[in-house]
């Protein structure tokens, strides 16, 4: 319809959209599920952590605070020298500073940190944004399985 003036075509567009269903979601009543890989919050699997401090060092925002202490553990083979193992005392992530870049999850050699798509943890006071060790442990329950890869992707190395 070349000769229809632009203004009338514009009116047609708005009228058509008026009768199409709306796309908005009424948030508190209806919730959209974030995709499985969404970087919502970081969960800590305490057993894997060996206090190697790689994540705290590699974090650009310096928002991971770790304290641990060395301890003697029974030797693997009897008669062997008792192993020194490190126990985690404190593992805090300050989500007020964190920029969700994911370097810590990636750099952790013992797979102790995971991403969970959880996003509803806003707080009234900013101090509560410092999640301590057991709060991060709670998030572990919400960590989903990684999604299957697209066809043509090489097998996970």
């Amino acid at each position: 319809m070349g000769l229809v003036p632009g203004a009338v075509k514009g009116l047609g567009v708005t009228l058509r959209t008026m009768f199409k269903p709306a796309v908005t979601v009424q948030y508190p009543h209806v919730k959209e599920a974030p995709p499985t890989r969404a970087r919502g919050v970081i969960a800590l699997k305490e057993e894997n952590c060996t206090v190697c401090m790689l994540c705290a060092r590699e974090c650009p925002d310096w928002c991971i605070y770790i304290e641990g202490h060395g301890d003697k553990a029974p030797p693997r083979r009897e008669g062997g020298k008792p192993r020194t193992v490190f126990i985690l005392d404190r593992f805090d992530i300050d989500y007020a500073l964190c920029m969700y870049c994911g370097i810590c999850v990636e750099v952790c050699p013992f797979d102790a940190l995971f991403w969970s798509p959880e996003y509803e943890y806003s707080e009234v006071s900013i101090a509560d944004m410092l999640h301590d060790k057991d709060k991060l442990g709670e998030w572990m329950a919400t960590v989903p399985e990684p999604p299957p890869l697209e066809v043509g992707a090489a097998a996970k190395k």
């Binding site: 009116l11 567009v13 009228l15 959209t17 008026m18 009768f19 709306a22 796309v23 009424q26």
Partner: protein, 345 residues
């Protein structure tokens, strides 16, 4: 002792005017709130593929009351260097000019506040008082943005007063009278070339006048595409920038009240007002009249708001050019043609 035949009881003059005043005072806020809710909240959002307010009341109906309440409880701020008296008075002037418009709009065979025989002339004259209120607001707010906004809106309203009046002249010539009730009756029992079934709503014969009236009404209401005075992206909020609290509510009610009134006048002049074929007269007619007029007002308001949500904004000089170079010559031509046809027919 005006007798209200409708109620067949004798009422003294002041009692009748009190009832009429009460009716008008309920119609205006109600009308503008309905207009705001239906068009500004619901229609605009659906046109933008969203739902609009849904929380307050079923389907967001009470949101309008929440808005009004919000404005009322807001603090009434006067800018430091503002001229206090003029600053306080400006919104009153603007809202008075809107209320006076309702005096002449007929809602039924007998439902009219005052059937002046110069009704149309009175309505348009009163409509232009708001320019003074806007200039007062702009000047007294002592802020650059308000001053610029007020000057722009003064220029615009005056420029669009003319096409508004000239568009109506065509209707007056065809109806032969200036009283709105007379125009409604002229449309009711006129006929086009002998075919008189649906009367002769002037939109058919005066279509150009109708289009010009709509465009000019859009400019009178300072709505997009003519909302230069309140252009958010440049002047923040034009002459209303410094206002808050219930004074801002006055401006808001004035804007939507005059939108309701102008659509009422357009419906009366061009769509046959409260008349619809086979309308029984007497008590039933007076009850059905307002409903018919309301439907026609909604249709005209839909056209106005539809344009508001679709078009971008004209620049100041383009806006003036359209008024002086396009609308006024077109309406003059319309008057000439109507005159000739009136004589010839």
């Amino acid at each position: 002792m005006t007798a209200l035949p409708l109620l067949a009881i004798e009422l003294s003059y002041w009692q009748a005017t009190a009832i009429k005043l009460g009716a008008v005072m309920t119609v205006i806020p109600l009308g503008s709130l309905v207009l705001v809710y239906v068009f500004l909240f619901k229609m605009m959002s659906h046109m933008q593929s969203r739902l609009g307010p849904m929380e307050a009341g079923p389907h967001g109906t009470l949101q309008v009351l929440a808005e009004a309440g919000k404005f009322l409880q807001k603090e009434d701020i006067f800018p430091a260097r503002a001229d206090r008296a003029v600053f306080g008075l400006a919104p009153v002037v603007v809202i008075v000019s809107t209320f006076m418009l309702y005096a002449v709009i007929p809602a039924g065979p007998d439902l009219i506040v005052e059937d002046l025989d110069v009704g149309v002339f009175f309505a348009l004259a009163v409509g232009s008082i708001s320019v003074i209120g806007i200039l007062m607001a702009g000047w007294s707010s002592a802020s650059k943005y308000s001053l610029l906004g007020a000057l722009r809106s003064a220029g615009q309203l005056i420029a669009y007063e003319l096409p508004l009046v000239l568009a109506v002249v065509g209707v007056v010539i065809q109806a032969g009278t200036m009283s709105l009730q007379g125009i409604v009756h002229a449309q009711a029992d006129g006929e086009i070339f002998g075919f008189g079934l649906i009367g002769n709503p002037f939109i058919l014969t005066q279509f150009i006048g109708f289009v010009i009236f709509l465009i000019a009404a859009q400019a009178e209401l300072t709505q997009t595409p003519f909302d230069m005075p309140v252009a958010e992206s440049e002047l923040v909020a034009g002459y209303m920038t410094e206002y808050s609290g219930f004074r801002f509510l006055f401006f808001f009610i004035a804007e939507f009240g005059s939108a309701f009134a102008l659509s009422g006048i357009a419906a009366t002049l061009f769509l046959g007002g409260w008349y619809v074929p086979f309308l029984p007269d007497g008590l039933l007619g007076n009850l059905a009249g307002p409903a018919v007029l309301g439907a026609k007002i909604m249709f005209v308001a839909f056209l106005i708001f539809w344009m508001r949500f679709t078009f971008p904004r004209f620049r100041e000089d383009q806006l003036q050019a359209i008024a002086w170079k396009f609308l006024i010559p077109a309406s003059l031509a319309n008057i000439v043609v109507t005159g000739i046809l009136k004589v010839v027919m």
